[in-house]
Structures are given as C-alpha cells and as structure tokens.
Symmetry: C2
Subunit: 318 residues, 2 copies
Amino acid sequence: MPGTLHLPLGPGGEFDAIAAALARWGPLADGVGDDCAVLDVPSGERLVMSLDTALEDVHFRRGWLTPEEIGYRATMAAISDLAAMGATPLGVAAAMTLPDAWRENFLLLCDGIGEAARVAGTRIVGGDLTRGAALSLSVTVLGHAAAPMSRRGARAGDALWVTGRLGGPLMALRAWERGLVPRSDCRERFAHPVARLDEARWLVAHGATAGMDVSDGVVSEVGHLAAAGHVRIVIDLDLLPVLAGVSVEDAARSGEEYELVVTAPESLDVSAFEDRFGIPLTRIGVVEARPAAAAALETRRHGERVDPPRGHDHFADA
Amino acid sequence: MPGTLHLPLGPGGEFDAIAAALARWGPLADGVGDDCAVLDVPSGERLVMSLDTALEDVHFRRGWLTPEEIGYRATMAAISDLAAMGATPLGVAAAMTLPDAWRENFLLLCDGIGEAARVAGTRIVGGDLTRGAALSLSVTVLGHAAAPMSRRGARAGDALWVTGRLGGPLMALRAWERGLVPRSDCRERFAHPVARLDEARWLVAHGATAGMDVSDGVVSEVGHLAAAGHVRIVIDLDLLPVLAGVSVEDAARSGEEYELVVTAPESLDVSAFEDRFGIPLTRIGVVEARPAAAAALETRRHGERVDPPRGHDHFADA
C-alpha cells in the first residue's frame, strides 16, 4: 500500500483528517502509510510529471465554485498536462493548504479531487495537508508514455487542429467578474473541464507531431508550438470552433479550456475521431517553414492578417 | 529538454522569472519548455514519489532563516523522504507561492533549491510559481529503487538503529521561540539538514528490514515502525546518540532531524558505516514479537520503563 499523507494540522486532527479522507476516497486512494508512494512505469515507457497550483483569489474566487468543484478543477487541470503529452496517468498527489474557515469543507474538496481522479481513470497516491492563511491546492500528476508528445515536433506541411468548442471559460469568468451569473454551459466548461487523455493518445497514434493543452488561450499556445518547433504557424480565426454565442476573438483568447491543440497531418480522419469521442476535431490552420524574417505566428480573419487576440489575464493586478 | 515552469506572475514577469531562475540553476535545471517533465526509471526499478510543503509561520518564521536556507531546507526535507525509502533521486519540482514582499528574494530561494538538488546529486525538473499572500514551497520529489524500504518490514530479532546525533533542531527551535540566538551547531542542524541517501542505500544493502526518516522525533517514528510491522519495539533511551549538551528526552522528541531510523540485523558493521559516511550509526533498541496485550512501543531509561517523550508540536496553536 504505497502513498503518503502528511497532515500536520495539530495533535490528533491530522490522523482524523487522513482517516476521513481515505474513507471518502475508498479504492480511489492507493493506501497511505509510507514515506513515499511506490509506482511502476511500464517497461519501455517514460515517466512524465507535472505540477499545477490553484490558489484562492489568484485562480478562482470562493463564491464562484463549490468546494467539490475547486478540488475537481485543480486536479483535472493538472491531469490535463498529462493529456498534453499523450500520456496515461499513473497517479495524482495533492498538497493542500487549508485556512481554518475551510476545515469544514475539507472532505468536499477531497470529493472533488477523487472525482477528477475517477474521471481520469487514475488514483490518489499521496498528499500533504497544511493549515495556512489562504486555500491552495498544488497537484502533482504522474503518468507514462511510450513516446511523449512534446511542443517541439511541428513540421511544415502539418495542419493545426483543436479539440472541442472554445470560449466557455472566458465567458464564465467575465460574468463572475461583473457580478453576474454565468450561462450554465459556460459555467460547466469552467467548473468541470475534462482532460482529453484518450483523445491525445488517439492523436499521437494518428501522427500528431506536437501538441499542448489550452490553458492560456489557443492563440497563445500556438505561439509556443511555433516557437518551439522553429516553424511558422498560420491560424485562420474564421475556422475556430466556438461555443454558441461566443465571439471568435473571445474563443481565441479563452484559457483554462483544457482542450488540445496539435499539429498533425492534413489527412486526419475527423469523422473517426468525432464518432469515437463525441467532440469536434477542427482544422484551424497550417504549419509552414519559417523564413528568417517572418513572424512565428500569424493570425488571419476574413482572409486578412490581424493582430493575435491577446490572452485574458484574470487577476493580473490582484 | 524536459521540464516545465508555470509562472503566472502577470504579463512579462513570469518569463523574466523563468529565465532568471534557469540562468541561476544552470545545468542543475533539466530544461523547461514542455507541459511535463520526461524522466526515465531504470529498467526493473520502481518509481517512488513524495511531496512536502513548507509554509511560512507554520514550518518556519522569516527571521529564523535566510531565503537560501528556506529554499534549501524545504527541498532537502522532501528529498529526505526518498532516503527513507532507500531510493535514488530522479528529480525535484517546486511549487512556489510568493508574496509580493518576497519577490526580491525569489532568486535566493531558487539558489537554495538548487543547492539542495546539487547536494543530493539530482536535478530540478519542473516547477510552478504563483503570487499569493503567504510564502509556500511545496516540493515534489521523484526517485527510483529496486526494492523500496518500507515502514512495515521490521522482524523480531532485528535491532533498532539510528544515524547521526539527535537534538539540534529542537534546541534551535526552542531558542528562536524564546527570542534567543540558537547555538551555531544546533542552528546548522535545523537550517542545513542533509538527506541520508547514500546511508539509506548502504543500510538496505546490509539487510535493513524497515525504516523512516526522523521528521517528527525518533520515538514517534519508531512507534510508526512498530505499528506498521505488527511488532513490539523497545527503545533504550540511554543509548540515544545526542548532540553535546542536549538532554536525552529532548533528543528523543526532536523532529526535522532527517536522520534515519531503521530496523536491521544486530550484526551491522558499525565501523564500516562510520568510516564510510563520517556520522555515527547507533543501536538504540530491539524488535520483539508483539504479544496480544503488549504495547507496540516501549521506552526505557536507566533500565526502567518510562513514558515515551512526546513530540514537539511547534506552532501547534498557530
């Protein structure tokens, strides 16, 4: 039974909290009781690891999401980094810092973490709980992949593809920031993202050369793919798959989508993908060789070159 | 070049911070630029992982340690969990939350993290930086081991062994909490612990059956070994290796030592260990079969049974 939870909440409390969290997680938690979790990477595959922090009033506000949603979203956002590598999850571990006012919500946060692990088909293999002034969830994810998809492999002649429909999370954020209630479909996209793990492995198996998950806005991510691959990528904003009622510009800059943006052959079988996964796969641009003087990223709208829509920095001045 | 640093410090600042940290770390950082770090577990070995959070005013106070020491200590404390498993480090990743007042110390924190990685013979493979109200460092460590040492293997007939000399960290804490300046050797034990990685592998190779690192006080850890192994362990407190001037009772309860306590055969070659590593290896008790009615842990002093000295809960009421 590998796994570890350090819970220095004060005498007594930590063991009660461990026991309660484990009871809540049931078989989703792969045990507790050693200094480290012990896991196995399949022979011939590589280990991939990432970590991602969600901090109250930086990444979310308390009134926007339920405690379960905060736990779910922080965990799924971290798992999405595994999807971005075409990896299969091995396990997640959450370092939680909890203000006293949040102690009553501890098990609800755990429920959300457990739900994200369940949806992603993985387990909770460790954690750490500390009492502190602000709620913070720092989630470490481990996975394995025979050939991890990197940001760097884009090739001239590839097409640029994106999964899903964009814009929901930005619409939800904008509503909350104005004190409004978000549209339910936009709220759902923000509160319950789903890491595109199976979709990523399908794309890798069908020739994807590079990819990322959309955490900062699709145009911003494509800029990274172009720079890392030393190629030029031209995005046709008219082709962006947008959620109903969302403008193309907002879809282009909406972050925390946790959709995938990949470079892959023009010949991808879109119908096979969409039949299998039930979400759109959309060709939104092309990869070209990059002349020395040319910009790595070009965005077009109605056939004309336009400035790339900038990302949305919520809390930039918080 | 695997590795990832998410640094949402606001437009511009995050990239500058990434670049500055990487320049500072040099070859200690194994690159940045993908969604996940990619690592290899040697064929036939198992992956071990742990995470550990150091939070200002919970685990330390600002005036006690320099920024470098805060970074070093948080990182080395996490690495010590790998030593507790007899594992070899693969890499470390630090999720940092930084108050604005700490921004000028960011690179000094990075220096300390880098120094801990260097001392442990490992690399920085990822990270995450967030702006927040309180300084927090949550360090994830990855390692590998052919046969990880667990807490559960103690066998009747084993002896109980501990590395190093105990008591320094508690003396340092007690001085700080009274507004005094700690003795330099005690301060050094608190500020610059060294994970006993090589020592742990030696002990595993020489038959150690179970072990932990001393993070909460040696008596408390031995209680975990006895419970996990379903054995009875008798500690002779008179045998505890104490730092000069420290009482046996304080040495017994001093935490954050990051020494090792293991169960292993009576026949361990103490001279060979001490010659090789330059620190003491001391036999402090015995492992016995546990009769149904007997306590799992017994502590003796001057040949008499005494109550186990309790751990020191600093900030228990913070």
